[in-house]
Symmetry: C2
Subunit: 215 residues, 2 copies
Amino acid sequence: MIRFHGYFRSSSAYRCRIAFNLKGIGYDFTSVHLRRGGGEQKTPEYRALNPQALVPTLEEGEFTLTQSLAIIEWLDETQPGPKLLPADANLRAEVRAFAQVIACDVHPLQNLRVLDYLKGTFGADQAACDAWCGRWITDGLAACEALLAKRPATTYCFGEMPTLADICLIPQVFSASRFGVSLEAMPRVRAVAAACEALPAFAAAAPKNQPDWEA
Amino acid sequence: MIRFHGYFRSSSAYRCRIAFNLKGIGYDFTSVHLRRGGGEQKTPEYRALNPQALVPTLEEGEFTLTQSLAIIEWLDETQPGPKLLPADANLRAEVRAFAQVIACDVHPLQNLRVLDYLKGTFGADQAACDAWCGRWITDGLAACEALLAKRPATTYCFGEMPTLADICLIPQVFSASRFGVSLEAMPRVRAVAAACEALPAFAAAAPKNQPDWEA
């Protein structure tokens, strides 16, 4: 049985939950509370699994894996269930690039440790942190919209089945809503998000449906 | 012939150059000067290729691809030459995770647009920006060191051949040097960096050896 260390609000953990659900794979869950007691991710025990002290982490026997995109590709390559990356090499590359727009150039900038630095060193208040996050989310999702607009419209980002692209997009759209980012100018992103949110695999992965959820 | 849009100092373009060289693949190069005229990456022509207005971008005929990790995996899957990802699924996942520590959680935080925001909105001076970059580079490379220390020592990060992990590590080590980050406590990182830098594929990809290099 796979063990999955995550946190309900973590966008990276949310991605992995969607992937587990789409592939129909069960897992044992360990909650790593990022706020409690200064952050459970910073304990020596957790750092031994994940030297970055970030969620998520996957364990299968002696094998330990960090980083959500690596975890999702590993699940796709080693576990049964529908494929999360297309078979065509060019399309697969476009899916990865789309996912990396979010996973590299948006999400890490709104990470807890980054916001703590902005507050602690630059004296940023909550409004300044929200504006910071809003800027990168807006830029990133506008780029996602432009990448989608280059292609014929499909139900999901890259066709009629959800892929790694949708898996990254939906948690980022959730986060956009938290930070009050408008998706008004992003019709393709909104249409894909609506299609994904109608799927049980996406809905069950939402933060509010997790055992460690807190209001 | 592949066309590659890059910039000598960009860490992401540097990664792709190493990959091209390791696989022995030639390409036509277009320099995208990130500073000149307010940034050549911001022109409508370039944004049509890369909606993020970031380098690098790859073109092959009608196919356009952004994001360095997606580009490198595409090269590896579609082009001849030595493999840049291991055949074993678990090891391949570990290589991807290592690469993503750098490509997701270190490099985007030291991007030009991010530093411009820190200066413009938070009034950060050069020393404050250097400290910011230094913090994320130190954290990230320390995590890389810990990931390497879990494994038997090998010439390169994950064995006796360079992989995507080394391709990401070397530009980040170069950047660490620019920002005065000490690698004193990272013997494994230093040993791998020394081994890579002795290879012509890595040396030829260095910023100072590019046609658009400026002192």
